[in-house]
């Protein structure tokens, strides 16, 4: 589920002390783009397997739980599998290529967010998006956890009072709708107050800090891996 993913990912990003955690956000974004590009342009099975294994190696270097990361990456892979399975008439290679591409891409993205605090990631995004969108992103991320706690308490209260049942769909629908409705009302009221608070604290159109594109000593790892993977992928394409 999304909320469990985001909470775990957020915790890993802030608790880790691996070389990847210590590297700058810009170098890791470069690494992600390089590996993604390599996965997209590659159609060689062994190369894609190598890219996938590289992403798993990065998970280990980052000190992240390998099985958990593979499970998180399995969600998009499940949908890629739908496409992949329809290709079995074409042999086993096309489905496997699809899965390897999907897995390599998903794990690489997860590594970025699991080793980089969200302010740094969204701060980099502020170089790409209009300021208002990067601020919206930052606010949404913070508010997600606030609202999640509220809805969790609501659902717990419902379960304790017998309001949710594994058999009564109509009751569950009604209760979920009630909870969501209350949450929307609360959000509407809080948003108006939040704007007033932001104004009082001097909000002039920038929340997300602009991440400076500075380099650190530990950036050699993401730059090195990203560049190597990309160069190999390009050479494979040119060679074939």
């Amino acid at each position: 589920m999304v909320h469990l993913d985001i909470a775990s990912i957020d915790r890993w990003a802030h608790e880790g002390r691996s070389p990847l955690h210590l590297a700058s956000a810009s170098s890791k974004v470069f690494m992600v783009i390089a590996i993604l590009t390599s996965a997209i342009i590659s159609f060689d099975l062994w190369l894609l397997l190598g890219i996938y294994l590289t992403s798993l190696l990065l998970v280990r270097i980052a000190g992240l739980p390998l099985l958990r990361m593979m499970t998180l990456a399995a969600y998009p892979a499940a949908f890629a599998l739908l496409f992949a399975l329809s290709q079995v008439a074409g042999g086993w290679k096309p489905p496997l290529l699809i899965l390897l591409k999907a897995q390599a891409a998903a794990i690489t993205l997860l590594i970025l967010l699991s080793t980089t605090g969200y302010p740094q990631v969204f701060g980099l995004a502020s170089h790409l998006f209009p300021r208002i969108l990067s601020d919206g992103l930052l606010l949404a991320y913070r508010l997600f956890f606030v609202l999640l706690e509220l809805i969790d308490r609501f659902l717990s209260a419902l379960r304790l009072r017998g309001g949710l049942s594994s058999l009564r769909l109509s009751t569950n629908l009604k209760q979920v709708a009630l909870g969501l409705g209350a949450l929307f009302v609360l959000s509407f009221e809080k948003s108006q107050r939040l704007y007033d608070v932001m104004n009082l604290r001097g909000y002039r159109g920038q929340i997300a800090p602009s991440a400076h594109l500075s380099l650190k000593r530990s950036d050699w790892l993401p730059f090195g891996i990203g560049t190597s993977v990309l160069v190999i992928a390009i050479l494979f394409r040119i060679g074939n």
Binding site: V2, I98, L109, Y141, N172, S187, K190
Partner: protein, 243 residues
């Protein structure tokens, strides 16, 4: 199915690039429209609705484990311009955590944005003749049918070809088309133009039938939930619906 949970590297490059380009253009347009209505003041509401959409997607309707979308509801509450921005932010965040790819953010934003857009206008139309809750429910059903059809069209347009991928994996040359192909079932033409037997196990019609059948269950559930929420909001905070 109103969200392409397709990871990076599966769809043809021209398709997701076109999606990104279209998204950028529409996003710029939405930003320009929203700025006229004091976008900065609505920034917290934008943040809240993005967070709510993410939470809605994580809520499971037991016992069938359906996940809500809430795009139509967000369209009704925010209006089309801001709701399109919310769609982009939701898909970007989902892409970052591996739920769907980053390269398909454009296509997913277009799909979700279409839901918010059509949901808003259909609600405005139907609420003139019906109670808001019923209008919302009908809007959800029609909107999700439209976007599911769009998803099927996108998948068909992708025209991924396993024969070319097989050839590409042997020679390293992708050939340009993609990975998955749907055909009418009668036959197909290979790259040299000669007709051959249909090799693929799923025809577009079968795929579409399956998606519509399974999707319709979700549409009904979503319509019921959104109608209930709108009914609640109408009673408790009617200015949210009318604004």
């Amino acid at each position: 199915m109103s969200h392409l949970h397709i990871p990076d590297g599966v769809l043809p490059i021209w398709l997701w690039l076109s999606g990104l380009l279209a998204m950028i253009i529409l996003l710029a347009f939405a930003l320009a429209l929203a700025r006229r209505k004091n976008l900065r003041r609505n920034l917290p509401l934008l943040g809240f609705t993005v967070a709510l959409m993410l939470i809605g997607m994580s809520l499971e309707i037991v016992p069938i484990a359906y996940h809500l979308n809430l795009s139509v509801l967000v369209g009704i509450l925010l209006g089309p311009a801001m709701a399109f921005m919310a769609s982009f932010l939701v898909n970007f965040m989902l892409g970052l955590v591996g739920h769907g790819g980053l390269t398909v953010v454009g296509l997913n934003t277009l799909i979700l944005g279409l839901e918010t857009f059509s949901g808003y206008w259909l609600f405005r139309l139907f609420s003139r003749y019906q109670k808001p809750a019923l209008a919302a429910g009908i809007s959800v059903l029609i909107t999700l049918f439209l976007t599911t059809s769009l998803v099927i069209s996108l998948v068909a347009v992708a025209r991924l070809n396993p024969a070319e991928i097989r050839e590409a994996s042997e020679t390293g040359d992708p050939g340009g088309e993609g990975l998955l192909s749907f055909h009418g079932g009668e036959g197909h033409h290979d790259r040299e133009g000669a007709e051959g037997p249909t090799k693929y196990s799923i025809s577009l019609a079968t795929f579409a039938a399956g998606v519509y059948l399974l999707g319709s269950i979700g549409w009904i559930l979503e319509a019921l939930v959104v109608a209930s929420v709108v009914h609640f909001l109408k009673q408790v905070k009617p200015e949210m619906i009318s604004s």
